[in-house]
Each structure stands twice: as structure tokens, then as C-alpha cells.
């Protein structure tokens, strides 16, 4: 555990120290929240939007923020590889599983902080929290999203040589996961084929889980969300750990 903590500590320290990164990665979610939220607030009316479109997309934007930060944290292993720091950890008498878990928890923590910042800022644009248990439930889902996608990032990074493929990952992994997740629209009103596609997206369950926690209603039941996302997280950590074992330096 002390090794996992050591690696976690390094990740969190680095994160807290890079103010530009914190502020930089708040940019896009805030942009989505404000422009889309207020831009479409008066136009979009749906059966699930009791408090208007802004409130509806807050869980989606929070998920987006957690997704982006965690994926990026995972992929950052490539930087460690290129700047040589990964060697320092890999030749230490510690297991790769410990290193991977430390990285995963570190990435998930930074992603959670990032999501919480968005959540707090959302309070100023009209988010109404139903109660403490709901809020805690939302945080639980944010942690799951963070762990799952940091692990996915690590899995991808373990197979990548350098950052050249990052754009590819951005366009063909991160954006589709975000776009299909029902972060920006109610999935019930979609055509059947698209609806079933969204149900294949693990982030859908994260978004719906957070939405249930914050608003008290969701289109996917909280237990279904919890088990689907929980299972995905376990599988991702497994795959990430397995691929990280084979990483070459």
C-alpha cells in the first residue's frame, strides 16, 4: 500500500502544482456548460428536464470533465516514458501492479477534483442539489468514471510509443465515448439503433448515475448504472494492469 500511496502522492503533487493544467482543462467543460447550457436552454424542452436544459447537462459536463482528465492522466505515462522517469519506477523493487494502481488512483483523484470544481461552479448557474446522499452518490460515480478511464488511458499508453497517436485517441476514443453517453441529450428520445448504441457506452451509466444523484431521476436505474459502470471499472483495471505489465522502456 505504501508504494501505491507514493505513486499516488507524486501524481497529485504534480497536478496541484500545475495551475495552468487545472485551469486549462476547466476551459472546455465550462464552455460547453455555459454556451450549450444557456444557448439551448430556451429552445430545448424535454420530459426529463424539470429544471431546464442547464441543470440537465450538468451531470454530463461533470462526467466529461472527469473523463477527459482521467484519460489524459492515464496517457501521461507516455510522457514519463519519454522523459525517462518511468525507468526510475520500473527498476525499483516494486511490482508493476503497485505502480499501475498508484497511477490509476492518482489519475482518478485529479479527475475527481476536476469534476468537483465543475460541480461547484454549476451551483452558480442554477444546479440544485437534492440532498447530501444524492451528492455522495454522484461523487461515487465520479470516482468510478475516474478509475475506469485512467486505467483505460494506462492500457492505451502501455501500447503506444509516443504522443503522436494522441490525436487519434482523442478523436476515435474520447469524443465518441463522450458524444454517445447521453451527456448532452436524453437517451430515451433517440431512435432505437442509436439508443442501443448509447447503452453500449460505459460513460452513459456514469452520466445517468450522477444525474440520479443530483436530480433524483434518471433514464437508467441507479442500480443498473452502478453495476454496469462497476463491472466496466473492474475490467478496465484488469486490462490496464495486464498491459502495463508488458510495458517496454
Amino acid at each position: 500500500m505504501d508504494i501505491v500511496y507514493t505513486i499516488w502522492l507524486r501524481n497529485v503533487k504534480r497536478y496541484l502544482r500545475s495551475r495552468s493544467r487545472i485551469i486549462g482543462s476547466l476551459g472546455m467543460p465550462l464552455f460547453f456548460l455555459l454556451i450549450l447550457g444557456f444557448g439551448l436552454n430556451s429552445v430545448v424542452r424535454g420530459p426529463h428536464m424539470g429544471h431546464g436544459y442547464v441543470s440537465f447537462i450538468v451531470p454530463g459536463i461533470v462526467s466529461m470533465s472527469v473523463l477527459f482528465t482521467s484519460m489524459f492522466s492515464g496517457i501521461q505515462i507516455i510522457w514519463d516514458k519519454q522523459f525517462g522517469f518511468l525507468k526510475e519506477t520500473l527498476v525499483a523493487p516494486v511490482s508493476r501492479l503497485e505502480i499501475m494502481l498508484g497511477q490509476t488512483l492518482g489519475g482518478a483523484t485529479t479527475a475527481l477534483i476536476q469534476g468537483l470544481i465543475i460541480l461547484v461552479l454549476s451551483l452558480f448557474v442554477g444546479l440544485e442539489v437534492t440532498g447530501l446522499p444524492g451528492f455522495v452518490l454522484a461523487i461515487g460515480f465520479m470516482i468510478l468514471i475516474g478509475v475506469a478511464f485512467t486505467a483505460l488511458g494506462i492500457a492505451i499508453a502501455s501500447r503506444m510509443e509516443d504522443m503522436h497517436g494522441f490525436q487519434l485517441i482523442m478523436n476515435f476514443v474520447i469524443f465518441p465515448i463522450f458524444g454517445l453517453s447521453g451527456a448532452l441529450f436524453p437517451i430515451d428520445s433517440l431512435p432505437v439503433w442509436l439508443h442501443s448504441l448509447t447503452l453500449l457506452d460505459p460513460l452513459t451509466y456514469g452520466v445517468e448515475g450522477i444525474r440520479y444523484g443530483l436530480a433524483g431521476t434518471a433514464q437508467v436505474g441507479p442500480l443498473v448504472s452502478l453495476s454496469a459502470l462497476g463491472a466496466f471499472t473492474v475490467v478496465m483495471v484488469g486490462i490496464g494492469a495486464w498491459l502495463f505489465r508488458g510495458i517496454q522502456i
Binding site: 507524486r10 504534480r14 525517462g84 525507468k87 526510475e88 519506477t89 520500473l90 523493487p93
Partner: protein, 328 residues
């Protein structure tokens, strides 16, 4: 006790043999150098000994631990300074040390004073709170050496420790390395393609080329092996004294070359007085006299038929050098 024992170590990469049945052993407390041009297999050998790479065949023991069956014990008992930097630039000097100490499970009450002590040793105590990205190339190297010592390894691996550093920094680093070896009795195994570095630092040198060790001994013995020293003597009458010099017992060979006498002999500094006395007995005045000791460069030339400098720096090395220069 042997600190390092290597037997027939071999590594193939996709049919290419990078290290070819290499064997050597290092007694505890010595400085051992793997000397060879770029791409000779030095770093690959080091990577296998530090359990980063698995050997294709052969065996090795570090501090008595088998690198194949007990990599974890090997890792605990060695310190490594890689050819490329492996510091976290976003952390401070102290934090880099602290991270390493925690990774190697050095208990806090030992870790904290030890970090202070090591940073003092390498002259970085005053900069311990600064981010590593503000450090020069030499400072980074020193920090890496200090970090490699934090868990008290009995063997320290240094991969091209002074590559790309300026002469002054190199001299400082050499002094540190020698002090470490002397005061803490740490066995040091270093790779280098700098002849002067191997000559200055190493108790023993293995010359490696195309993955094979072609000669291994103390630097002095290697140089003796290829023939002794050369004294170049210019006098007012070369022809007159030449046969007399030849008759001296210490002299092995004498020839006239470019208007000067070239005398081959062992331990030239001991016999130079005899040469001068002989000349003055003949009434010949000496215009100039100089002693040339063979270098490891000559040794490498002797065994491989080419100089080490003929090997062009590979693209990767040039990039490394450029990166380090740019940082400084």
C-alpha cells in the same frame, strides 16, 4: 567476495546479437569500466545486469543474487544512474529523493537524514527545495547519483555518467565517483566510450566491441600488453648515440624517425636519466626529450584496428547531446 559475476551473458534482438557470450567478474569495492564505442553492447549488458532486460542466454549474479531467478533482491542491492535522465522535473530535488526512498522502502527516520547527507555529498543541499527543471545538466547528474545511493546499494551502475557534460563538470563528477568508491566501498560498474574516463577512474577495464569482450585487465596492464612507453629524443648527433642507446638493458627497440630517435622501453620515467647520461658521455647535447605513454585509445586501436572516434555518434546520441546542451 565477488560483487558481480557474469557468465556467457548473451542478448539477441530480432536475430541481431547485441551482447555475445560476455563473461567477467568484479571484486567488491572496485571500479569496473565497460569501454567501447556506441552500439557495442555496453548499455544492453547493463540493462540485463539491472534486470531491466532478460538475457537470451547466460547467467549473472549481483551481490550473490541471480538476475534471472531473484530480480527483486538484485534491484534492492543496486543503484542505477541511466544514460538518459530519469528525474521528475516537476518535483523538487528533495521530492525526487523522497520518492525514491519511499519506493525502496527506506524508513522515514533513516530517509530524512540520509537525503540531507547525500545532497550535501553531491553539493546540492542548498538547492533541495528547487524544482529539478531549473537544474543544469551537471546538477541533474549529481542528483541522480545521490538518488541512486539513497537505499545504500552495494553496487552502483553508471551508464555513460559524463556524456554531454562540459569538462569542468566531468572533472567534478569523477572526483565524486572516486570519493564514493573510496569512502563507502561501493563497487561501481560504469560504461563509457571516453578513454580518458576509463583510464582515470577504473581499477579494471573490459573493452567491448560488437558485443564481445576483446580485452580485460587493469588499464596499466592493458597498456603494457601492447608494448611499453616511447621516448622521443632529439639530439645534436642522432647517429652517434643511436647504437649506444640500443645497447642499454632497459631499451627494447630504437629507430630513427623524422630526425628524432624513437625509443621503446618499459617504465620510461625510471630510465630517462640513463638515456641522458649516455648521451652526455658521448658528448652529444640533447635538444628535446619527451615521454609518450600509451593510452587506452592505443589499446583499442591495437585490438580492433580502428580508433574509437571513427565511430560516428549515432543519431540517438546526437539527440541526447543536443538535449543536454539545450538544457544547460
Amino acid at each position: 567476495m565477488l560483487a558481480v559475476r557474469v557468465e556467457e551473458l548473451t542478448k539477441d534482438f530480432d536475430g541481431l546479437r547485441a551482447v555475445d557470450h560476455v563473461s567477467f567478474s568484479i571484486a567488491g569495492g572496485r571500479i569496473f569500466g565497460l569501454l567501447g564505442p556506441n552500439g557495442a553492447g555496453k548499455s544492453t549488458t547493463l540493462a540485463m545486469l539491472s534486470t531491466v532486460l532478460r538475457p537470451t542466454s547466460g547467467a549473472a549474479w549481483i551481490n550473490g543474487f541471480d538476475i534471472r531467478s531473484d530480480p527483486s533482491s538484485v534491484r534492492k542491492s543496486i543503484g542505477i544512474v541511466f544514460q538518459d535522465q530519469s528525474l521528475d522535473e516537476e518535483l523538487t530535488c528533495y521530492e525526487n529523493m523522497d520518492f525514491h526512498g519511499r519506493l525502496y522502502r527506506v524508513p522515514r527516520r533513516i530517509r530524512q537524514p540520509k537525503i540531507g547527507e547525500l545532497l550535501t555529498l553531491v553539493g546540492l543541499a542548498e538547492r533541495q527545495g528547487d524544482l529539478v527543471k531549473t537544474f543544469s545538466g551537471g546538477m541533474r547528474r549529481r542528483l541522480e547519483i545521490a538518488r541512486g545511493l539513497l537505499h545504500e546499494p552495494r553496487v552502483l551502475f553508471l551508464d555513460e555518467p559524463t556524456l554531454g557534460l562540459d569538462p569542468q563538470t566531468r572533472n567534478h563528477l569523477w572526483a565524486y565517483i572516486e570519493r564514493l568508491n573510496r569512502e563507502r566501498e561501493i563497487t561501481i560498474i560504469l560504461t563509457t566510450h571516453y578513454m580518458d574516463e576509463a583510464d582515470k577512474l577504473c581499477d579494471e577495464v573490459a573493452i567491448i566491441d560488437h558485443g564481445r569482450i576483446i580485452a580485460s585487465d587493469t588499464p596499466a596492464a592493458l597498456k603494457r600488453q601492447i608494448g611499453g612507453d616511447v621516448v622521443i629524443l632529439e639530439s645534436s648527433n642522432n647517429d652517434r648515440i643511436l647504437p649506444h642507446l640500443q645497447a642499454l638493458p632497459a631499451v627494447k627497440q630504437v629507430e630513427l624517425r623524422d630526425g628524432a630517435i624513437s625509443i621503446k622501453l618499459d617504465q620510461a620515467e625510471r630510465h630517462i636519466a640513463e638515456l641522458v647520461t649516455r648521451a652526455s658521455q658521448d658528448g652529444v647535447s640533447i635538444n628535446s626529450i619527451s615521454v609518450h605513454k600509451p593510452t587506452l585509445e592505443d589499446v583499442f586501436l591495437h585490438f580492433t584496428g580502428r580508433t574509437i572516434r571513427e565511430e560516428d555518434a549515432s543519431g540517438k546520441d546526437r539527440m541526447r547531446m543536443a538535449r543536454r546542451l539545450w538544457r544547460r
